[in-house]
Amino acid sequence: MASSSSSSPATGSNSVISSATTLADSLFQRSLDDLIKSLRSDPASEPSAISRAIAEIRREIRSPEPLTKSIALQKLTYLSSLHFISMAWASFHTLELLPSPIPHIKRLAYLSASLSFHPSTTDLLPLSTHQLHKDLTSLSSNSSTSPSLPSLPLHFLSVSSSPDLALHLAPDLAPLLSRPSPLQPKAVASAYRVLSFCPTTVPILFKPLVDCLSSENPQTVSAAIGAFCELSSPPNDPTPYLPLAPEIHKILTNSKSNWILIKTLKIFSRLVPLEPRLGNRIVDPICQFLRQSQAKSLVLECVKTVLSCFPSHEEAVQLAIEKIKELLNSDDDPNLRYLGLQTLEMLGPNHNYAIESNREIVARSLTDPDRTIRKKALQLIVKTTSQSNSIETFSLLVKEAAKSDLEFANEILDSVLSVCGKDDYALVMDFDWYISLLGEMARVPNSTKGEEIGRQMIDIGIRVRDARQELIRVSRELLIDPSLYGNPFLACVLSACAWICGEFVEFLKDFVELLEALLQPRVNLLPSSVRVVFIQSIIKVLIFSFYSFVEGKISIDSVLRMVNLIEITLGPLVECDDVAVLERIRNLFGVIYLLRDIKDYKKDEEKDREIGEIANILKKILFSEKMGPVSINAQKRIPVPDGLELKENLADLAEFITSTSTGTDIFLNPKRENENENLREEMRIETKSSSILLEHRKRHGLYYLPTEKDEKEAELTEDFPLVKDDLITVNNEESSRRLKVLKPRPTVVKLEEETEDLLQASSSVSVVKTDNISGAIMSVLSGNKNESENRELNSSQERGKEREKNTDRERKKGSKKNEERRRKSRNRKEKEASVVSSASKQEPAIQDFLL
């Protein structure tokens, strides 16, 4: 074999290939097919084969001969597209081949350009302008060239162009739009992309685009409708396209092509919310389609339009519901079932009966092997639960979660938890049932929602007094079960259970059993933050049991047994590593020491009194005030004492620290967005800075805002204001009306502003993007007459600006307000004038149409 480059040695030894051109190499060249074959022959050595090919290509592409160059470019395009090799370095070669008179080579070059050129990858884009211009106008100049030639630059323009390029070539695009030819639909599709890249081309391209709507060629109409559909879709503003409504309506009533009809419906679904009278004109055609059309895609689109635009038009909605039923009942086609579920979701609350009647199918879809359908079914079920059927629904869902795989189980749990927890548990009537459901959810295998479950348990414990009994029962069960301790996701749940048992210990029946559970050896598997909670709970249980003993409610034996158990289990841990655990164990032993004389109780009067007093005091400390929910605005409600200045920016505190530090810089960045980066930085200068910070905090504690822990501790003292009574809402009347619920719904402590503020904080008003296009289009549509008005307005604005400059100078002398008022009123008048004039232009067109 003469040439070494044609064979593909399995060893891929690069030494065989030198960068110098051999005679053989210049005679032979691998074609694309050869390249593909070589890549396929040995998958293992693919990377080396590719790099060899690239080296080859680099050599070949520099050849002056266009054929060699083009084949090299072809190979490179293939590698770039399917093997993700960057080909930005070859842009110049691509440009060189663009003007080639040989159609085959030209096509290769354009393909390569469309796939790889973009303002972000190459700076050579402007160099293509001239060639693109020539090719776009080739139809008019040279009739011997292929009529499909200009389609090549059209493809290029639609993906790869930059705003500048678009601006330069728009004038060439315009004649293609207005001349009927097989190229027209492609020109239309390209034009809309050019418009969106570069809104300044609107004056040139928009009118021809609109004219295409009334073209004879159905393909052109289809492309034009598609273009307007894209232009009016979110996040763009659909308002400028309202004047086109009459045209589009004509198309709706006359066209036979389903494709076109679907697009018209989509456009209308965006225009109708802006102009409700439009709705009246299109309801009838839509109902007709719903009744007669055989095309499922059209029917689907009609259903969607009806449900989103005419939720109150009974007839249309009924038809739509019928069609949805049909879709849902197609057992053999999962696509139709999925689409049925999707459209069912669009039904508003007025038509929940429709969802009810299809409930069986929806429930069955929950167990469908298709993940997409399952997710949809879940969303649907969650959306339509109300207070009456919440119990069965959620029990069903949790049972389903226990049977499902990891991802879906967590999705189910997530949605159940969020729906039930919303609005302070608005959907939950029976808290006892809900708490046992929470317990079940904790037991679902693969569940990762431990944190949320724990949080909700504690939340309910704080807010709902009547539910505490049930909470204790469930918590006790969960704590006693040793199998749950090994599961890292359940640590939060166990922590919550332990806290609940400690806090509401008065509901417990058997202290010894609980203590045994809290002391079991498997507790050591839990993270230390959880163990800390456990030990704190043990302290509480112990104190309460002492107190109960003093009151005569339990026997001395149980108390002694508890003390014994604690000493045996926790004694060795007194030397453990973790400081938090250590501290609490010592506290616990301190309490035990205080009451060491308890076994001598009832023997000596004086000692009895002492012991009784101690037990009393201990109980008061821990159990006197129950914790309640704290409003988010509580901090704000504390009046700032006189003389205290609260600063937002704590950056100057850094000075305090650096003056005492040994040279390490700490960046106190008060902005919240940089918190994460800040944390990382702090981690890096960890030990030194944290100790300095602690030091500083001790000295200048007043400047620091209290953290969450401080708030809770402060609450236990008298300084913190108590929750006001007028904020608690009572929900009893509603529940007593229901015959099913045996007992009235317990009161849930709500703090009104909480929900409001949270909503404000989290809601983001979806603002329609005010882009340049809508402004430009508005001005084009308002016609020529307005141009003169605009010119007047512009000049008056200029005069106004001059006047403003004068008034600025005058302002320094005084009379500020008058000038501003005059300026504002002038601006307002100008704006009103322009709006009125443009609106008045549009209004007649639409008014005629709508009446």
């Binding site: 060249q29 396929r40 084949i71 399917l82 389609s151 493809h155 639609s158 894209e230 999962p334």
Partner: protein, 166 residues
Amino acid sequence: MIKAVMIISTQGQARLLKFYEFQPPEKQQEIVRNVYGALSGRPENVSSFVDAESIFGQGTRLVYKQMATLYFVFAFDNSENELAMLDLIQVFVETLDKCFKNVCELDVIFNFNKLHTILDEMILGGQVIDTNSEQIIQQVDEITRIEKSSSTTSLVPKSISARFGR
């Protein structure tokens, strides 16, 4: 609009990629991997729609059809009708069938340029131009004819395989 047209083999290799919103090569690779991941786990007889929000952005979906060893995937957003897209895949595959006479994966592998030509007659800039497979074939044939007739390829082909008639 149609965001992308992809043909991916059941082994995860890309056979045809066309993105109607420019993506740099690394991003393209990531997209192909994600799409393949989403599709490979799906059993038989399930719906052809997959949510693609994490791959292409908000509101986008994939519709796919598995034919033998290839996945034909179209990614689209809310401006397209789902069932219409399903039809479009059908049209595309039929067109390929007519063009290559019982198309198989090898045809797709070795006809990179022709595939792009066919796709370009169907979709431009994310908008559908033509849904009639006959017409598309006609156009493609016309193009091929013109290119063959005015081609100045030398009588002796340059590539080894063509020269030695392998």
